[in-house]
Amino acid sequence: MGDVLAATDVRAYYRTRFGGQIRAVDGVSFALAEGEVLGIAGESGCGKSTLARALAGLFEPPLYRAGGRVSVEGEDLYEMDAGRLRSEVLGRKVSYIPQSAMNALNPTRRISRFVQDVMRTHYRAMSRADILARARERLRALSLPERVLEAYPFALSGGMQQRAVILVSTLLNPTVLIADEPTSALDVSTQKALVAMLKDLLQRKIARSLIFITHDIVTLRHICDRIAVMYAGELVELGTTDQVIFDPLHPYTRALVGAVLVPEPGMRGRKLGTIPGAPPDLGDLPPGCRFAPRCTEHDEECRARHGELRLVRGRLVRCARLGDAAKEEARCE
């Protein structure tokens, strides 16, 4: 299957008041295949939400595009004019659900109104009855109650609000659905229902591929095909879910996975992964490896040289020291 989305060296920076720049997304490249679920993991401030906006072509000042390319089904989003991006790409090809989108639902309007807004933007001629019929059909397909349409947002629980948001944003069967922390404000049971709904959307090919952004590695384990780990604006590891979670290579990924708390036997008394210090200032990045100041295994060379993503044991990792280990491995073989 071909790639539906390709990001090449995407750079999205914020301009600061004093002429500086915050390099929130600094050279991210990856490809998303048809039907694939890609997780983007990382801690707050690593640039994952900015990456989501950049992938949807949503640059609003102070955020600006500092380079790179995003193409969806072969079409370059950044070459397009804003009007076409809005009418033909957003919602239809790329659907972006921002963080806590459910809190952005206007409380004075019923859910059906949001449904109409979306449909009318793209199909001017469609009648109200047709639109509602289509929405009802979709609700039935996803086994959600039809009363949601006639409800006001505040009458719905947080989980149902979030599901309504996903319903509205997938009405036009987007090629890529980008969901930013869709489960983070929800209870475990609602989280489970939401993840199940997303999987259902993919199975029914309503959304053809998914980018799932979260800090919660455990949730990613259950929905993703591949996971990209982000640190200080760049990807530090990109591999299959099993590679990243059960055999992490980058020291940052290892700490991230080691800090997971799950109610499983053997968890108690286990030492949790901790990282000393704080992430670097994205306006004033160190010249070498961005993780080196907090890395327990770094040496002089790490601080001086900024490494590239390289293929190590079947996945991409950005760590100069691992490269050496891989070479040694090869020598042993």
Binding site: P263, P265, G273, T274
Partner: protein, 257 residues
């Protein structure tokens, strides 16, 4: 600390909501326990009553055998020196008009006599250090200039300053990333080891509760539906609610959906 049939209702008539109903529990010295429940289960209301911020509609909260609702102003201050809270939302917990330095310094008002200025400053710096905050970075800032995680760590630093006998932590790490969460939990464990502080976590996070606590209380719709040693509750949950809750928690090594 002991709770005896504590009930709290809000509103009246048809709109009456029973947030907490007939809760009995005990928090002995030098223990770590957790109240686990989903949102709306009444766990925060319960924590607020234990801190004396909300009066129970019926039932009593006893600390060292004394009903805390009978405290006068002076006794209340003494109570808050022994029982401290860490709240979910740091932004609504600090006075927005004071800088962090002043907020932390105000903690010393809980004592009848304050230590000299120099000692206060040293203790503030040490407390900030334990939660990985740099004194030079935060002391001059206002609470709204901090990130959510920094705010939560600031509250934990305040707890370190006061060194209470009981700490009630309501979702203390909800805004903190996994890696710094581990170091916060370590700091809280150290507080317990050094001071014998009892800690009560109020959380929806089963993994966290299981990792830190000796005793678990599972709360649903205002009632404690199950309680017992953490291992026992986790391995053989008896109540259907606990069973469902555990089944819904994603794990690393088991299928979820």
């Amino acid at each position: 600390m002991r709770l005896d049939h504590v009930t709290r209702t809000f509103g009246s008539g048809r709109g009456k909501v029973v947030a907490v109903e007939g809760v009995c529990m005990e928090l002995p010295r030098d223990t770590i326990a957790s109240i686990v429940g989903e949102s709306g289960s009444g766990k925060t209301t319960l924590a607020r009553m234990m801190l004396g911020l909300l009066r129970p509609t019926s039932g009593v909260v006893l600390y060292e055998g004394v009903d805390i609702s009978t405290h006068d102003a002076r006794r209340r201050r003494d109570y808050w020196r022994s029982v401290q809270g860490i709240f979910q939302d740091p932004y609504s917990s600090f006075n927005q008009f004071f800088r962090v330095g002043r907020i932390l310094d105000d903690a010393f008002n809980l004592w009848p006599a304050q230590p000299p200025r120099k000692e206060r400053q040293e203790r503030v710096a040490a407390a900030l250090d334990t939660v990985n905050l740099k004194a030079s970075e935060v002391l001059g800032r206002y609470p709204f200039e901090l990130s959510g995680g920094q705010g939560q760590r600031l509250m934990i630093a305040r707890a370190f300053l006061i060194k209470p006998a009981v700490l009630i932590a309501d979702e203390p790490t909800s805004m903190i990333d996994a890696c710094s969460r581990a170091s916060i939990l370590e700091a809280l464990m150290r507080l317990r080891q050094e001071q014998g502080t009892s800690i009560l976590f109020v959380t929806h996070d089963m993994g966290l509760a299981y990792y830190v606590s000796e005793t678990l209380y599972i709360m649903s719709q205002g009632r404690i539906v199950e309680s017992g040693p953490a291992g026992q509750v986790m391995e053989s949950p008896q109540h259907p609610y606990t069973q469902r809750l555990l089944a819904d928690v994603p794990r690393l090594h088991q299928a979820w959906l």
